[in-house]
Amino acid sequence: MMKPAKFPMSRILSQGVVLCGVILMLSGSLATTARAADEPEFSTGSNEVLIKEIDQLIRRSWNDNLIKPSEVASDGEWLRRVYLDVVGHIPPVEVAREFIKSKDPAKRSKMIDQLLDNPDYVRNWTTIWTNHSIGRGFRTRGDRDEVSRLGMDKFYREVFARNRPWNEVVKDIVTAEGNFEENGAVNFILAQMEMPDEGVQLTADFTRLFLGIQVQCTQCHDHPFNDWKQDQFWSYNSIFRQTGKDIQRKYDEDSGRMVVDFVEVTWRNVDSQEVFYERRNGEVRPAYPVFNSHKINPAPHVDRRQEFGELLQKDEDRMVAAAMVNRMWGHFFGYGFTKPVDDMGPHNPPSHPEVMELLTSSFVESGYDVKQLIRWIANTEAYNLTSQFNKENEIDNPAAGEIPLFSHMYVKALEVEQLYDSLIIATNAHKTNSRNFEAAEQQRQRWLGEFITLFGDDENDSSTSFNGSIPQALMMMNGELVTRATSLERGSFLSETIASPGDDVAKVKEIYLATLSRYPNGRELSSISKLFRSSGPNKAYAYQDLLWALLNSNEFIVNH
């Protein structure tokens, strides 16, 4: 099992030279295909030392596992991916055209910087964190809703627009009090307090989302796979016991009934210093407010959430930082360093502990700078590889339960918001709609609402665009959204494309680029042409059928 015997260095090198030459000649792309496995050559154009260090560490894991990385993704594939991951939708057709054409060797790192300043960056990350925090329900303010999506959105919009330090954000969330629209941060807590349960849900979700650990396993018993004891859950829980909720109702003349006016998170007086929990053997034990080794004064007059928030902001154990780093890596790759990203702990060691450590300490040093964290991840070599695997990295398949080695990109189903916004971008509807932003936004919320009612489940963040159900396929095939996107009305993307100068091949290419951010290959072109020829007298229908097929395809509905 010696490496040199398996991959003769000379062969790899010579192939690399030849292939590089060909590709550079053809397209001016910065792709380097087969490379010596321990000699990083790829660069997005960024000079950051940290990125090189990460690249080397990840390369080492490829060498250790005797695999060969996939090739660097084509510009089209990578652009579509980075757009979806950073701003939440596919690239507009003109951006794709320019980017593929550009010969600037630093175009990828420049694109990342550009996207971090794109207004859709704020919108995308607001959506992501609002969904993490309160789920996808509460789309429009229902008159009985005790959670405000508007408020939560407002909070995160400010967080991401100002790029606020993440440790401060976490403190704001945990210490939040007040009105659910004035202080939107309270909505995380309110969403976990829908059912009366002594803060059990709140304990479980806070620690999972912001600390990356699953203490709920210890709600009923000691952790089965590590040395966490049952009191750990109840220690966290005791911190949240002073959390109250106050619902103000008012009479609504239209409906003739009482409706929710507003909801507040309030201070709740508790007399006892401890909470009691039951061991499996029936023994009752007390737990006190403790965060790791940091004891919180259990006296009833002390605001435990406030104390906890300050400990989180200091983050001496770097749990807040590590949780964010792992989740962020998972966002970009589909898998974090642990599976799932929010189940870290001694029972579940990370796949790449050194990378994780390096990113975590750098994130802390940066002052919990979220944009900087994204910039580092998106500039890594691993993030720039294609999603196609090769003969020598087939084992790198986390979907089959393997530890991810990041030797190729993993395919992710689009989130439902990504799907909607990408359909809009692909068919240029954002341009015709821009005159009436509000109406467009209402339409978006209505569709998302319908989608989520039909397909959403109770897990806050698992509503991807494709969960394998027939109603979803029916909705894509026959629903209003795709019907509208493929409309032949005057001014629509399709009618404009058909009316534009150029032959059928040029137009088919344009439609491919608008939807899949790539041009069709030779085989596709010839079979599509064949289908065009046999499609009857109305050419417009053929185009419409093609666009329908592209929007319904497996390639469209994934980020890869």
Binding site: Y410, T483, L531, D545
Partner: protein
């Protein structure tokens, strides 16, 4: 070209289209499962119909009356064909109570709508570490292999969303339809005859991606689309067309309005029950029909007398009689329940509030013993004076009736073994 163009209702369109243009031959790999007779009655296939009373029904006014108690309320009991009495406002159902049994000692501890809904559907209390499947998903999962020629979904939820499939996966999620059988986006618009052309193009694009070595997702996507197309064009879709029923049957369920000349509008719940019968007849193993409006904190007696009970009575009695007459009742279990019952005490708004400690559900058909009242509450309806039951007992009884082994264990996404019906035993009196 992997996408087969399906047969079925649209086949004629395809054929005409093909004859005209001789167009899309590559896509026309008809899969060879043309059903000569889609209406074949599958009488010996087991099924379950859950009548879900959303909001929490006051069972003390329906199934377990307390005349003479301060909690008794306004209604009187009447005798039935079974060995028990029920509310005077359920006269038609009284006539079929020899087929159904009442479990009068449900004690289910969850008196919040969300938690009760979860508990009653799944047999498990809500738990942050795992999402349990609703029992319809369990049945779909367990019986799917016995319904190989079923082209329509094996778990249909009528007028409500039921709950999710949890760790059993989206393939066993409820397929939600309205009571008139209308399916969202089922796409009659494709009768323009262009579906074939579209699928041909889709097949081209999808195969290209499938063959590009990117894992299992691209293929899985294609398979779901195949199923959806099969559904769109299946003859079995006729099962959803309640309107095809003869008038006399529609009247029986109250679909056409006027429950027994009481001047009422169309009975949507009745329509849902009729749809359930059609689906069961076509081989669907689990149908849930939702009836709302039970959260009666105010004005409970007038609402029951004038609205809820006449509708429930007509629909439920029609369902039992209709199944019986078609020879389906002995293979079809009917379960009636909601999140919880309602307080024996009548509140200051002449309503009843949430109450999970002592209430009733109803179960029958599928070979279970009917005509019994199982368990008992005390004279004021507050305490239980017998063995008490939880939803797991009901679902274990259903599993038994459907032939699903009670030692069946599923595995949660975290690898935890989960017993069917939470490991509860079935109710002995019912299976005898």
């Amino acid at each position: 070209m992997n996408l087969p163009v399906p047969d079925g209702m649209n086949r004629r369109h395809f054929m005409r289209h093909m004859a005209a243009g001789a167009t899309i031959l590559p896509a026309m790999q008809f899969i060879d499962h043309v059903k000569a007779n889609a209406q074949t009655v599958r009488k010996n296939q087991k099924a379950c119909i859950l009548l879900w009373m959303s909001g929490g029904p006051p069972t003390i006014d329906i199934w377990d009356l307390k005349p003479g108690s301060k909690n008794g309320g306004e209604f009187q009991p009447i005798s039935t064909k079974g060995d028990m009495q029920i509310s005077e406002h359920m006269p038609r159902t009284a006539n079929v109570m020899d087929e159904l049994s009442i479990v009068r000692s449900m004690s289910t501890r969850e008196a919040d709508h969300g938690r009760g809904r979860y508990f009653m559907h799944t047999s498990y209390v809500p738990n942050p570490t795992v999402i349990h499947p609703t029992f319809g998903s369990v049945v779909s999962y367990e019986l799917a292999d016995t319904r190989k020629d079923l082209e329509i979904p094996s778990f249909v939820s009528v007028s409500g969303n039921s709950m999710g499939p949890g760790y059993l996966g989206m393939g066993h999620a409820p397929f939600v339809v309205q009571s008139n059988g209308q399916i969202r986006n089922a796409g009659r618009s494709n009768e323009t005859g262009r579906l074939g052309q579209r699928l041909a193009m889709l097949g081209e694009i999808e195969s290209n991606f499938i063959n590009s070595d990117r894992g299992d997702f691209p293929k899985a996507h294609q398979e779901v689309y195949q199923k959806a197309v099969n559904l769109m064009t299946s003859e079995q879709m006729q099962a959803f067309e309640v309107s095809q029923e003869p008038d006399q049957i529609k009247q029986m369920y109250g679909v056409t309005g006027g429950a027994g000349g009481m001047g009422m509008g169309a009975n949507r719940f009745g329509e849902g029950c009729l749809l359930a019968r059609r689906l069961v007849e076509s081989g669907v193993p689990f149908v849930e029909v939702d009836m709302g409006g039970w959260d009666l904190h105010n004005d409970v007696f007038n609402t029951l007398r004038d609205q809820r009970l006449p509708q429930l009575d007509q629909a439920m009695s029609a369902l039992v009689a209709d199944l019986k007459q078609r020879g389906l009742l002995e293979h079809t279990v009917i379960v009636w329940m909601g999140e919880f019952g309602r307080t024996p005490r009548i509140n200051q708004n002449v309503g009843r509030d949430h109450w999970a400690a002592s209430w009733s559900s109803v179960i029958g058909g599928g070979g279970l013993k009917g005509g019994q009242a199982i368990g008992a509450t005390d004279k004021d309806g507050i305490g239980i004076e017998s063995q008490s039951y939880v939803p797991g007992n009901i679902w274990a009884t259903v599993a038994h009736a459907l032939g699903i082994p009670l030692d069946t264990v599923h595995t949660s996404k975290r690898g935890r073994p989960m017993k069917i019906a939470n490991g509860q035993p079935p109710i002995a009196e019912l299976i005898g």
